[in-house]
């Protein structure tokens, strides 16, 4: 310890051992990975004419990666799907499979990141966001997710007063002066093409897709992309379902906040909150549903043969404040999502039930027994 030279050698040796492992050793182990095909021949060779993965980014996306790095997106976004036993990433729908070292060999900037104030972006290109959606998100994330902490990047856009067709409409959820139009700069376009190309949608010999249970939601559902999931339903019905879904998911005045208990996937929580998907109550008598939506429900209830005992405050913020139209919409929605398919509920039907309950004190919750016994 007293001889500086020996001391220096000592401390460099200890450091050098870790260096040998993490730098030299790791490089010799997986420093020469190359793209390969999804499935190998029996002898381990790459089949002739097979498509090779990963593919390299397009020129524009490569420039987008530079922007991504320069703006420090990696501060809040990871780009790695962890192994199933190490985290919830696949369950959350952030990827079809865990990421592998080979996925990154063609990237100039490997931006794995180590913080997730924002969601993982390794597979953002698989989430079927439109370019406009991504532009709107980059311009002002809060116009899509009101509680997002992602910094708006108005400096990547030009605000336009007289929009042409290619300009992007920023749909504000609270801005009273109406919607704004912006024109993306070339940097914004690069970023969006980079994001769209971020996807690990191929299998590799060392890693295959993970089967995930069906009831897991793919991603956050937001008002702007509801129209994308349109089925063959008539427009009035689809509108009612869309509005109903908004109410179901909204946790602010005018919303029903239903998803907090019954969950976004309509499955409820085992033992606590009954499911709505496939529920004999939801698909059954409308009048009972309307009554519950006005006054709430307490006590024991049996849904699909399972007993639950909990309190459901009258939906709405403040409780019991949903209008006839809102109740009609949200009930129509829950009767027509998650595989449910039942007749729509109209505002008139709600009004009739409300009329029949005129004498009932506000906030006086129903019990299941009261609802199942025939009205005198």
């Amino acid at each position: 310890m007293n001889n500086l030279a020996k001391f220096t050698i000592g401390i460099f040796l200890t450091l050098g051992m870790a260096w040998l492992a993490f730098v030299v050793g790791a490089r010799s182990q997986f420093g020469d990975l190359v793209p390969t095909s999804e499935v190998l021949e029996d002898d381990g060779s790459v089949p002739v004419d097979a498509e090779l993965f990963p593919t390299s980014l397009s020129g524009m996306a490569k420039q987008g990666a530079e922007e991504y790095a320069a703006l420090g997106c990696v501060t809040c976004h990871t780009q790695q799907v962890r192994r199933v036993e190490a985290g919830f990433d696949v369950e959350r729908g952030w990827g079809k499979r865990p990421s592998a070292p080979r996925d990154y060999v063609l990237q100039e900037h490997v931006l794995l990141g180590n913080s997730r104030i924002g969601p993982d972006l390794a597979n953002v290109g698989l989430r079927e966001h439109s370019d406009n959606w991504l532009h709107q998100h980059l311009f002002e994330p809060q116009s899509i997710f009101p509680s997002s902490l992602c910094p708006p990047s108005p400096f990547l856009y030009q605000q336009i007063d007289e929009p042409v067709k290619s300009d992007i409409e920023i749909v504000s959820n609270e801005n009273a002066d109406g919607n704004r139009f912006v024109r993306p700069t070339v940097r914004a376009n690069r970023l969006v093409s980079y994001l769209q190309e971020l996807k690990q949608d191929y299998e590799l010999p060392e890693v295959s897709f993970v089967e995930v249970e069906e009831d897991v939601i793919e991603e956050e559902v937001v008002s702007t992309d509801i129209s994308v999931v349109s089925t063959g339903a008539p427009k009035w019905l689809q509108d009612q379902i869309d509005t109903g879904k908004e109410i179901y998911m909204k946790a602010a005045p005018g919303g029903g906040m239903c998803f907090t208990c019954h969950q976004q996937n309509g499955q409820g929580l085992a033992g606590q909150f009954p499911p709505l998907a496939g529920s004999d109550w939801v698909l059954g008598d409308k009048e009972r549903l309307i009554k519950i939506s006005m006054y709430g429900l307490m006590g024991e209830i049996e849904v699909n043969g399972v007993k639950y005992n909990n309190v459901m405050a009258p939906p709405g913020i403040p409780p019991g404040s949903l209008t006839d139209e809102q109740i009609a919409s949200v009930l129509t929605y829950i009767r027509n999502d998650w595989g449910n398919s039942a007749s729509a509920v109209s505002a008139e039907e709600v009004a009739t039930v409300r009329e029949s309950l005129k004498g009932r004190a506000p906030m006086q919750m129903f019990t299941a027994a009261e609802l199942t016994t025939p009205v005198q």
Partner: protein, 467 residues
């Protein structure tokens, strides 16, 4: 001059470099505090200053970490290690002009580096985000300073070295080695794919473990006996603790890659070595606290020591928490959450900075001959304590909430997971305001002593020398 004690001669020889590094460190500390506030404010209101591209969150956050580690950390390390090594070597500081010259280059390099980050030339490598153009300047100026520090050490009067010297010398020597390894692996012979991440993460975490940490430990090993006037209890363990850190810390830092796209042995080794770190932590903790608690009244009365003991306690607690969080079962929840912020701030504020504050308050009166008012120091101590504890609790509880909620795939991300940790960001914003205020007090305390009359600094120096 012949009647001066040797210590006084040494202190006087260190005055120029110590004052230079300390006053620059103070400026960086305030810069970092301002950036930390802006970053924290942006997490409570994303629209705060959002129209300025150079102030976007990703850049500010990174600039703040770099200003803190290289600006404040680097300058503070130079100031404290030069003085402690000169004192322990009983040798005068020579070549002050060269040291200051190199120090100016170091500070200019970081300034340009931060401007480069804000101007959009950030590299994506952890703790090496400054544009590559400034790396040579940083390395060369660092090597000049380190060389001159080694000269001081080589001219020591007593051949036997003690714990503070090992820790400080090792830290000074490890940094350029780490820097060169990272530079080579990331830019000169760039590794492909996730090897880059392994290397940059290894570098970024090692910087804290092998550069900031040993300097602070070394300073604690020097200050506790010096102030209490008693030897370190169970001092024979210190050498074991030192080599444990040297041997284990470089391995332990990669456990953050748990579950990621790297071979499994990398995080696995990291986890095992993190657990083994309980030994050096226990050693340092025993050495410091067994000594301090023999004379706890004196610790309380001496403000420098109060800072140091706060730092060593924080080191012990944070390191044990770090061990727990490296266990795979816990890492599954806490990985990628704002617990990372807890670790970083615990280490750089709660541990490193607090010990540096203590060292400065101990050294500065001896070097300049001017006492800092006790009330000012005390105010600094209490505001720091309040700010640090607020910050750490918010990040710890917020991080656990973050992890637990994120682990439930049915909860939507922005409207549920992120919304529920927003209150904690609000707390951190207030904590950063308190810390900024406290650091301002520190800088004022220091500057008032170094520059009692800003324009007569060198003149006063001459007068003192000729007196």
């Amino acid at each position: 001059m012949s009647v001066d004690s040797p210590d006084k001669v040494i202190d006087r020889s260190a005055k120029l470099v110590f004052s230079f590094f300390l006053s620059s460190a103070g400026l960086w500390l305030l810069t970092a505090a301002l950036l930390a506030y802006v970053a924290a404010a942006k997490l409570t209101d994303p629209f705060f200053l959002s129209t300025y591209e150079f102030l976007t969150y990703g850049k500010i956050k990174v600039a703040q970490a770099n200003a803190f580690v290289y600006g404040w950390g680097g300058n503070a390390i130079f100031a404290v290690s030069i003085w402690i090594l000169a004192r322990l070597s009983q040798a005068e500081v020579r070549g002050s002009v060269f040291i200051v010259f190199a120090g100016v280059i170091w500070n200019l390099a970081i300034t340009f580096g931060l401007l480069g980050i804000m101007d959009g030339h950030m590299s994506g490598h952890e703790m090496l985000e400054m544009p590559t153009e400034v790396w040579p300047a940083m390395l060369i100026s660092y090597l000049i300073i380190t060389f001159l520090v080694l000269v001081i050490h080589r001219s020591r009067q007593v051949r036997e070295t003690i714990a503070p010297q090992w820790f400080i010398l090792a830290a000074l020597l490890w940094f350029p080695a780490l820097f060169l390894i990272a530079w080579n692996g990331l830019e000169i012979n760039p590794a492909r794919g996730t090897l880059q991440t392994v290397l940059s993460m290894w570098y970024g975490q090692s910087l804290v473990w092998l550069w900031l940490t040993p300097v602070a430990l070394g300073a604690a090993y020097y200050l506790i006996p010096a102030i209490l006037g008693r030897t370190i209890d169970k001092y024979y363990l210190a050498i074991f603790g030192f080599w444990c850190i040297a041997a284990l810390a470089p391995w332990s830092v990669v456990h953050h890659l748990e579950g990621g796209p790297v071979p499994m042995w990398i995080p696995a080794i990291g986890t095992v070595m993190s657990i083994a770190m309980v030994f050096p932590i226990a050693v340092a903790s025993t050495n410091f606290h067994a000594t301090a608690f023999m004379d706890i009244g004196k610790v309380w009365d001496s403000l420098p020591l109060r800072f140091v003991i706060f730092g060593t306690l924080s080191y012990t607690v944070s390191s044990y928490i770090g061990v727990v969080f490296s266990l795979p079962a816990v890492a599954k929840i806490t990985q990628f959450t704002i617990i990372n912020e807890f670790h970083f701030n615990q280490r750089v504020y709660g541990f490193f900075s607090m010990i540096i504050f203590g060292a400065v308050y101990f050294a500065l009166p001896r070097i300049t001959g001017k006492e800092i008012p006790k009330a000012a120091k005390s105010f600094h101590f209490w505001t720091s304590t309040l700010g640090v504890l607020m910050l750490l609790l918010a990040y710890l509880i917020g991080g656990l909430t973050h992890g637990v909620l994120a682990g439930q795939p049915s909860l939507p991300w922005a409207s549920s997971v992120i919304q529920s940790i927003q209150p904690y960001f609000l707390i951190t914003k207030f904590a950063f305001i308190i810390l900024a205020f406290s650091q301002f007090v520190f800088v004022v305390n220091v500057w008032r002593v170094i520059f009692p009359n800003p324009f007569a600094f060198f003149a006063a120096d001459d007068k003192e020398a000729s007196a």
